[in-house]
């Protein structure tokens, strides 16, 4: 095939390019900006740990957790989405709009803490997905403990230790309280 037949073929086939406002549809599974379902988030901070450019940041406060995302810093590698244990993150099907400064598109999402069933202090939420994954095959009376806050859990285990080692009694079960 010589060059002139290529030229002729191109002439016959018409242009392969598009004029500006037209665009090629994004493929399925495109890596767009990261989106969060705050009702699924457990504030574990995995996404912030793997993020190379610091686009995803997680800040813990007293009664909620702040999930901050800057598309301007994002490299769209999808690492945060793939490590999220509860599938709270996904990527948009379209690329981010253009911006003038990196902060213009910043998103702040608040993940509210739920009160601890034991002491009532706000505690990072525990979702069913996580319970199903992390507490698989655990006795139902222990499974209930997955909802309580860290302090209460520490207290609980201390109490259990004390009752076993000092008093020689079986640990107090939840139904006793």
């Amino acid at each position: 095939m010589n060059i002139f037949s290529v030229l002729l073929k191109n002439l016959r086939m018409g242009p392969a390019t598009l004029r500006f406002p037209e665009e090629v549809p994004y493929p399925k599974g495109f890596h767009g900006p990261v989106k969060i379902h705050t009702e699924k988030c457990i504030c574990c901070g995995m996404c912030a740990y793997v993020c190379v450019s610091g686009a995803v940041r997680v800040a813990e406060h007293k009664d909620n957790c702040e999930w901050v995302y800057s598309p301007g810093l994002c490299t769209f590698c999808g690492k945060c989405v793939s490590v999220c244990p509860v599938e709270a993150l996904h990527m948009a099907a379209k690329s981010a709009p253009s911006y003038f400064n990196t902060k213009a598109l910043d998103e702040v999402h608040l993940v509210p803490y739920s009160p601890c069933p034991e002491c009532g202090r706000p505690t990072p939420p525990v979702r069913e997905v996580l319970r199903a994954k992390a507490f698989k095959g655990v006795a139902p009376n222990v499974l209930v403990k997955s909802l309580i806050c860290q302090r209460c859990r520490q207290k609980d285990s201390q109490r259990a230790l004390v009752s076993i080692q000092v008093k020689g009694e079986p640990p107090p079960s939840r139904s006793d309280k």
């Binding site: 793997v50 190379v52 769209f76 690492k79």
Partner: protein, 359 residues
């Protein structure tokens, strides 16, 4: 009268910043000095301050063209350190990704070479073909350039639609065999520009340490995919094209034949790919104290990674040696006594990647 012509740092024939200072006597090159410092980002330094997961995404950004092979080699080094076995399916997916990336890289190179020769139509043909590959990679990985496919112990995404890969690869192979190979090898003006230019003998290639297609065009049969297979290469059959004339034309031929061979590898991998998991299990793996080295055949030649770990989640030292780093000095050898008009072409013929070299 001798005069100095600066080619670069910003120049239409170079896709990246690089300065080739040519000292000319009329149109004949007397001496050349190269400087590739314009793209320094301190990737190795940064990698020593990031945890392993971040470092994968970071080393992927060493290069915009051969990004995937960087991440792959880094992951190979880490998996060697942690003693992980990567599932078969993940190995095949990695192979497919790397070969598709080689295809895009060589397509880009062929386009640039044509452009440097002033052959715009051929440039457009190459880039139209490359566009199909980029679209394919986008559908596989979600990204057009930095695919983010590799992670420690496997890949992040499964190959959802192998048929799409097969169709595109068949189309690309057809374009290469029906259009690119005849055009590059039979066109008179291309022949006039390429043959006998930028000669490098086998002895010189060994002495200057050339790697990859540049070395294979001078008669060396070194290919990491065959000499120390990684990913799924030990289960695949492929030839390593070698030319002996050692000029720019030989480099063109070697790369074009490599493209055909890559299509062949991808098709084989699609036939043989087993079902199964794409990841070895837990996302977070402890990297024990120790050192590891990994090598891979990037589109431009041998890529080398050294990783040293002290048992924490942050690497102690990451050392990257890219193929362009060893290939670039040969440019000086090839350019001496060349014609000024051939300087950009000789420079392009080794497929230099300044972004890789400078890091």
């Amino acid at each position: 009268m001798s005069f100095t012509i600066p080619i670069g740092p910003y120049h239409p024939a170079l896709e990246e910043p690089c300065k080739v200072q040519v000292i000319c006597e009329g149109e004949i090159v007397q001496d050349v000095s190269l400087s590739v410092k314009y793209n320094f980002r301190g990737v190795e330094w940064l990698a020593e301050r990031r945890n392993y997961h971040q470092a994968i995404a970071l080393v992927e950004r060493v290069c915009g063209i051969c990004s995937n092979v960087h991440a792959l080699t880094f992951c190979n080094a880490l998996e060697g350190l942690a003693g992980l076995t990567v599932p078969e399916r993940a190995q095949y997916i990695r192979t497919i990704m790397v070969e598709l990336e080689r295809l895009t890289s060589h397509a880009l190179w062929a386009g640039i070479a044509a452009e440097v020769m002033g052959f715009q139509t051929l440039f457009m043909t190459c880039f139209a073909m490359r566009e199909q590959l980029m679209d394919l990679l986008e559908t596989i990985s979600g990204n057009r350039i930095h695919y983010g496919m590799n992670c420690i112990g496997g890949v992040t995404r499964d190959l959802a639609n192998p048929e799409a890969v097969r169709i595109t690869v068949r189309r690309v192979r057809q374009t290469v065999t029906d259009q690119l190979i005849p055009l590059f090898t039979e066109d008179k003006t291309i022949h006039a520009r390429c043959s006998g230019i930028g000669q490098m003998t086998k002895e010189q290639a060994v002495a200057w340490g050339a790697v990859g297609p540049t070395a294979r065009a001078s008669g060396l049969t070194e290919d990491i995919r065959q000499t120390s297979p990684y990913a799924a290469y030990n289960q695949l059959e492929f030839k390593v094209p070698v030319e002996t004339s050692g000029d720019v034309f030989a480099r063109v031929v070697v790369r074009l034949l490599e493209m055909v061979e890559s299509c062949h590898i991808v098709e084989q991998a699609l036939d043989q790919i087993p079902p199964g998991p794409i990841h070895h299990g837990p996302i977070f793996v402890e990297i024990p104290r120790g050192e590891a080295v990994a090598r891979a055949e990037a589109p431009r030649g041998e890529l080398f990674y050294y990783v040293s770990s002290d048992g924490t989640d942050i690497p102690c030292r990451v050392k990257i040696r890219t193929p362009s780093f060893v290939n670039l000095p040969t440019v000086r050898l090839m350019m001496l006594q060349a014609n000024l008009a051939d300087v950009p072409l000789i420079n392009a013929s080794i497929d230099p990647c300044y972004s890789c070299t400078s890091r």
